[in-house]
């Protein structure tokens, strides 16, 4: 039986969720449809939502990867790109594009915009919310597409699935340009076993930190290290709302993507391709724009460290081989899906 405190917390969270939804709705005027192809979306289509800014370098691989997984349609908000991203997206048959010049930060890092689109198009569908530098992998993803995965999640009564964001990095300095084209060939390494986590009592989500950024940039102040836990895949309802990026959402039962009774829940990995060579100029730009963290001045040291072209690779780094390897390392779990 839930205690009074818990009921009170649930009540407060319900209002918080409503405020988030109203806040998002109030931002809908900032979105201008560039190409809206959502008219004839099949009922069972799996949708992918993303906010992008100047992502021409990553988009081809991002789209190819998630198309192969069976994403039916991409709904993308372009936040003032000037490298042709919007036009590139608009030219593709399975993408709808909205543009905005609004502030990334004051739209909760794009979440407000996406919430509006998800409310309109995501209701009742499985929605995968990603950044352009994330590649979603899960057990059997090479042989079973998202239809199979979401069909199974429906079958076992799960409405959401969690994923660990895995920072990928190159062998040499971050700024070093190599011949490789595919992001995972340029960034084949990752940290296999330095992740730490606690359960957040309020939203009941798991807060995972660690990886190369914690190790290289936040070793003096680990609490500030980036959050790596995400809930990117949700069977959406128009009443749902992401709280901070896709790290947690409301209602909070959707955050129960990890097992608390000793078992392993189905969990994917987001291969994070943030550290392509363009990270150097981008970091300088982000530092100037102050659009990426709540309290941006605290992160100036982080941007400075990035711009200094560091090497994240160590003798103990692991080279990416595929989902079975990640499963063996305990970073990904099939969660009974065999």
């Amino acid at each position: 039986m839930p205690g009074v405190d818990d009921l009170w917390a649930a009540y407060k969270l319900r209002w918080r969720r409503r405020r988030l939804l109203i806040r998002s709705l109030s931002k809908r005027g900032q979105l201008r449809a560039l190409v809206d192809r959502t008219g004839a979306l099949p009922r069972r289509a799996i949708l992918c939502f993303a906010t992008v800014r100047n992502e021409m370098g990553r988009l081809p691989a991002f789209l190819a990867h998630h198309r192969a997984l069976g994403v039916g349609h991409f709904l993308v908000v372009d936040n003032g790109s000037d490298d042709g991203t919007a036009a590139y997206l608009a030219a593709q048959e399975d993408i709808s594009v909205w543009t905005t010049q609004g502030s990334y930060k004051s739209s909760r890092f794009g979440v407000d915009w996406l919430t509006v689109l998800m409310m309109r198009h995501g209701h009742g569908r499985w929605c995968l919310t990603l950044d352009a530098d994330e590649l979603f992998v899960y057990a059997h993803h090479d042989r079973r597409d998202l239809r199979a995965l979401t069909g199974w999640l429906d079958h076992v009564g799960r409405r959401s699935m969690g994923a660990l964001m895995l920072d990928m990095y190159p062998r040499g300095p971050l700024g070093e340009v190599t011949d490789a084209v595919a992001p995972l060939r340029q960034l084949p390494y990752f940290d296999a076993g330095n992740y730490v986590m606690v359960r957040q009592p309020k939203l009941q989500n798991l807060w995972v930190q660690g990886g190369p950024r914690a190790r290289a940039f936040f070793h003096a102040d680990p609490r500030r290290a980036p959050t790596l836990s995400k809930v990117p895949l949700v069977r959406w309802n128009r009443r749902y709302a992401y709280v901070s990026s896709t790290h947690s959402l409301l209602p909070r039962h959707l955050n129960h993507v990890y097992d608390r009774r000793g078992g392993e829940a189905p969990t994917g990995v987001l291969l994070h391709t943030k550290f392509l060579p363009e990270i150097l100029p981008k970091s300088a730009e982000e530092k100037a724009r102050r659009q990426h963290f709540e309290n941006s001045t605290l992160y100036e040291g982080y941007y400075d460290a990035l711009t200094a072209d560091p090497i994240l690779w160590t003798e103990a780094s692991t080279r990416y081989e595929g989902w079975r390897q990640l499963e063996g390392l305990g970073l990904l779990s099939r969660g009974g899906w065999d």
Partner: protein
């Protein structure tokens, strides 16, 4: 036309059609029951597809709710119709729209021809059943279940509890012996007709209509009444997950399914194109005719279920973050913690590394540095030697280290000068072997050149920390293997004690301590303790250190 199929369909109509046509084309009549919840338009369109197919017929529709009588009702209707329409049918095979034959249906038919009188149905007495998820076995037959388990779980559970408390019981009709089993069976005409035409059928049906999950008990119980020869197993391969939901088979399961030698499997993912293409193609190379053997693939699925249910011990991840008490083991493997001997013996760490093998770290929880073995700055899994990162989550620092070095023995040193946050965890962990010589930390102090006041303050601080640690190791709930001596105790027979601990760690072996570490000179130690006492401190944890230690025994040599 000796074998007929009853097909229960509620979704994936294209696949159901494909399978039904395959059966019909192989001279096996099919009667399809489409769930009453399917919209009339969809149903009519589906039915119209078979207008030219005399061997595929339909039966009256029932709205089927999971776990209720409606499923049995639908089966009864379809079976009656099949038996009536096709008088040559001798065996009826109950299948669903998501079933797929794994072997040519001709093989199944000839198998049944070899067993013309046999009923294939899993039928197990209730006290033998171990697979139910809800924990209701015998009570399925003796309680009433008016509330939906899926929609009104609380009412369901509450009403079950109430009936238990009040001792309410339904009586089981005469001649019915409760049995449970898989709902997918293959029965003979004779048995089915006996069940369907029994004089007391209406009474039996009324009873079963209120039994919990009758589709797993109606035919399973009644065959015991009429059948002459029961093979208590299902010819349909199906595997269940820890929630009792059937596992779904995908294209990549093809080799596994082939190896099972089963005739039919469920349930198949409707988009598993390759499975349907392969298994419905009778022109494929004939396989050897083996007895169905679902056990061959059990191992794979029971492993998946175990991972899902128990998880990997010692893993903390985005998938597995057990609440306190649910860890099923705090860490993934045994490890050793040495507290004190490194202060007593010269060059103990390299000696221990040679003796124990594996990785022998220094003081992992030293306040100023994480002393990984070999002075590494990152360990397996990129575990950093940053003190701040370690102290941020000290327990997960250790669980990460152990997880990433699985299969390799880990040992490290720990003392009262270290960051103590990990201490309660070490005490709770049955994988920890702790060797503790209390007061050994004072050995380097007694030869220190620091001013005496500083030495005394340090001694007081370390003693306080050690006493807290010792208390933690003596509190209830300690699961670590603890070998603890006071310094005074330990120095009476140091090598034997050390040997005993190491033997426990590596197992008694032929390898004796041929080369022994050398102990520091302790001849001035008693004087040092007295000096502390005189200075106003009370050294306790060393035990009663003998005044004549150095002169009596001399220095120890290996």
């Amino acid at each position: 036309m000796t074998l007929g199929f009853v097909l229960l369909v509620h979704t994936a109509f294209d696949r159901a059609e494909q399978v039904a046509r395959y059966f019909a084309a192989n001279d096996c009549p099919v009667v399809i029951h489409v769930d009453g919840k399917v919209r009339a338009r969809t149903y009519r369109a589906f039915r119209a597809r078979f207008r030219e197919e005399p061997n595929i017929r339909f039966t009256r529709r029932v709205r089927v709710e999971w776990g209720t009588w409606s499923l049995v009702r639908a089966t009864q209707l379809a079976t009656t119709r099949l038996l009536g329409l096709f008088p040559d049918v001798r065996h009826v095979f109950l299948a669903s729209g998501s079933c797929l034959p794994l072997r040519p249906v001709a093989e199944l038919r000839s198998y049944l021809d070899d067993h013309p009188e046999t009923d294939f149905i899993e039928s197990v007495t209730t006290d033998q059943v171990t697979w139910t998820v809800d924990g209701l076995e015998t009570e399925r037959f003796t309680l009433r279940f008016p509330f939906s388990w899926r929609k009104h779980r609380r009412l369901f559970d509450g009403y079950v509890r109430l009936q238990r408390r009040l001792g309410l019981k339904r009586s089981i009709p005469d001649g019915v012996s409760p049995h449970l089993g898989s709902q997918w069976w293959c029965l003979t005409r004779r048995t089915l007709e006996s069940i369907l035409e029994a004089p007391d059928r209406s009474a039996v049906d009324t009873y079963f209509a209120r039994v919990w999950i009758p589709d797993e008990s109606y035919f399973q119980s009644l065959v015991r009444r009429y059948a002459t020869e029961i093979e208590s197993r299902s010819l349909t391969l199906s595997k269940f997950d820890i929630q009792g939901k059937p596992h779904i088979f995908y294209d990549d399961h093809q080799p596994l399914l082939e190896r099972s030698d089963c005739f039919v499997a469920r349930k198949i993912w409707p988009h598993a194109d390759r499975l349907y293409e392969t298994f419905l193609d009778d022109s494929r190379a004939p396989t050897r005719r083996a007895e169905p053997n679902p056990g061959k693939i059990d191992r794979v699925f029971s492993k998946a279920n175990e991972r899902r249910g128990q998880g990997r011990t010692g893993l903390y991840s985005q998938a597995r973050f057990p609440a306190p008490g649910y860890e099923n083991g705090l860490t993934c493997g045994r490890y050793n913690v040495f507290c004190g001997p490194e202060q007593l013996f010269e060059a103990f760490e390299p000696w221990l590394a040679r003796r124990l093998g594996g990785r022998v770290h220094g003081h992992l929880y030293h306040p100023e540095r994480v002393a990984f073995a070999g002075d590494e700055t990152v360990m397996n899994g990129c575990l950093s030697d940053s003190v701040a990162l370690r102290d941020y989550r000290p327990e997960q620092f250790l669980t990460n280290l152990l997880w990433s070095t699985r299969g390799e023995r880990q040992s490290f040193f720990f003392g009262p000068g270290d960051v103590q946050d990990i201490a309660p965890f070490l005490a709770r962990d049955p994988n920890a072997t702790l060797m503790l010589v209390t007061g050994a930390w004072a050995v380097p102090l007694h030869v220190s050149n620091e001013p005496f006041e500083a030495v005394k303050a340090e001694a007081a601080r370390l003693q306080r920390a050690e006493m807290a640690f010792v208390k933690a190791l003596r509190s209830p709930g300690v699961a670590a293997r603890v070998h603890m001596w006071t310094l005074a105790d330990f120095v009476t027979q140091p090598l034997e004690k050390l040997q005993g601990v190491l033997d426990e760690i590596v197992g008694p072996g032929p390898r004796r301590l041929t080369e022994m570490p050398e102990m520091h000179d302790l001849s001035a130690f008693h004087g040092f303790l007295q000096k502390l006492r005189n200075g106003g401190m009370k050294p306790q944890v060393m035990g009663d250190f003998p005044a004549d230690y150095g002169s009596r025994e001399g220095r120890h040599h290996g």
